[in-house]
Subunit: 192 residues, 4 copies
Amino acid sequence: MNHRLATTCSALVLPLLGTTTGAAMADSLPMRMNSNITEQQVLNAQQGWCNGLLAISKAYATGGFAAAEITASRILDQAYGYQYGAVAFKPTLTQHPQTFRGTKAGALAYFVGGNPSYPNDKGFAIKPWQKCAIRNQVIQLHGDLAITMGNVDLIDSSGKLTTVDKTWAFLREPDGEVRIVLHHSSLPFTAK
Amino acid sequence: MNHRLATTCSALVLPLLGTTTGAAMADSLPMRMNSNITEQQVLNAQQGWCNGLLAISKAYATGGFAAAEITASRILDQAYGYQYGAVAFKPTLTQHPQTFRGTKAGALAYFVGGNPSYPNDKGFAIKPWQKCAIRNQVIQLHGDLAITMGNVDLIDSSGKLTTVDKTWAFLREPDGEVRIVLHHSSLPFTAK
Amino acid sequence: MNHRLATTCSALVLPLLGTTTGAAMADSLPMRMNSNITEQQVLNAQQGWCNGLLAISKAYATGGFAAAEITASRILDQAYGYQYGAVAFKPTLTQHPQTFRGTKAGALAYFVGGNPSYPNDKGFAIKPWQKCAIRNQVIQLHGDLAITMGNVDLIDSSGKLTTVDKTWAFLREPDGEVRIVLHHSSLPFTAK
Amino acid sequence: MNHRLATTCSALVLPLLGTTTGAAMADSLPMRMNSNITEQQVLNAQQGWCNGLLAISKAYATGGFAAAEITASRILDQAYGYQYGAVAFKPTLTQHPQTFRGTKAGALAYFVGGNPSYPNDKGFAIKPWQKCAIRNQVIQLHGDLAITMGNVDLIDSSGKLTTVDKTWAFLREPDGEVRIVLHHSSLPFTAK
């Protein structure tokens, strides 16, 4: 990038002006600002989601429900964008009329259970998850928002593999923070 | 909007300058450009998706596979953003290893079937659909990109209702065209 | 907005389903997230720039250079996006080879002067400014970024009016903070 | 990019699953869509602006006013975003009350003159320009919108150099077209 611009400089500007001033063509020009999310930030945020899931699971195993809930609440604040408004969240195992979890309370209930307002939630994240890996099929970059679609593979302590179809959208703040604003997870379709 | 700006004008500028020139405060100022997608454009595009599905179904009923394929191809060009790159498309009824349809060919096979490269595709859009309605749970606006999540209700000629969980992202071009770049559809989870 | 969606609901969904459940059509649906900057946020940020200029001027009048510099530094952190990278800043009265102020240090020198690295800077903001008003000619909204172009009218303690041609771009963070990332100011052209 | 993702694949997914299927890890995954403007597209669009200016100048030299006007109109359609709404355009040599050219008609008058509604316009682009070069000080990337600030150097047939301070914003359509939506040009400030 710098190389190309340096070339542009010598090829176009210097012959035109007929003089060279080192100061005017400092290596650091042009200076830059870039508010786009990068693919690496997306991959890091996905890995962060896996790490968060495993952290909640481990907190439950070692500290019980209270520890899991504290961990999950912290992870939701960090990894999801509920502070921006309604997150589009369709978890894997939710049902009508509580399919969608546009609020943090609904997301927390899904991850750790124990909320009488969400009686069907058993706590997805407190299962004994051991491994979590992501296989991306599509990555889209749209400014500070990225969309990913693919599979997530989860393995529990008994070695059982669960694969889900997963769509995320991540929003990057100008300060570099990246948060999930869309999460649609579903079990693979199986023909009967 | 104009009212507020007119107020700003009289309150701040005119007292400051001490003179009033009608020409300088023309009703048409400030002039505007707005490249954001609107909620109405999103609702129209969703309705367009329903209309497209019903159009493919009707084309099949009246003209058979060939007519349905022509209609579907045209609708895909119009309503989906495959010309921009990979669309993140997880249809309702697809299975590994052809779950995701990042290309137009894969989307077309799903909608009308008949493509030996996608042997499990029966043609979702050629079923005898009669009605299609959308219930939004979340609408997000991010510049020229909008995300929606909710349900789509489909009724076929026998009166059978099929409800799916549906996520879309729509991208608006500066010229006003709106196309789907993300589509994740899944059957509702049912506890066994 | 709610009215239109309620209409959509009753017109499309309820006849389709043939039943009505109040809970399913809660007034609060769809829930929303909107990361776009609004015209009101733009107008507020412009007014904030004027207020900041007058605050630096007043700090200088009452507390001298040290007070002005502290005030200007705080305003730059708050109102400009130097923490995101290089701000595109061409102040009204700067000259080659220090025309552009991509760093906070260069902006601070322009506003208050007193920096030997910028010997031509006399301190634009420490002049005895009394009034500051903005007349927008164009406002553009592009997601979380807005562009404005127009005039700014400044009046000093002697009653002298200075008008400049002014372009700004404002970037909104998801948390609602709005900062200047582009500022091009120039004296009106006068034919000789 | 592909290399990194391939590494991610082998490091995370394959050990987890314990099996390898070539088909599932095709080299082409993930597929991508990217609606961001690139720095190269920005540099090309800048060069396109220079080329357009020289083309109008040449059309005038060889074909007179009519040829220049046709050329300028075509270049404005191609290079500026007037079809999207009001372009924020402050040309170098315009004066109150016609400083800003939010419409194509105003821009065309500035470039070629000859419009009685803009009596001060002499036709900036029909001067005998021979060379045009751009020196960027700041480049910002914000999704499909890019901002540049720096200098443009123009040399006419007599060898006279004119340097201006120049800010542009470019908007990229999803189909790859890039157009100017902001253009603020000003003569360098000179202390009296």
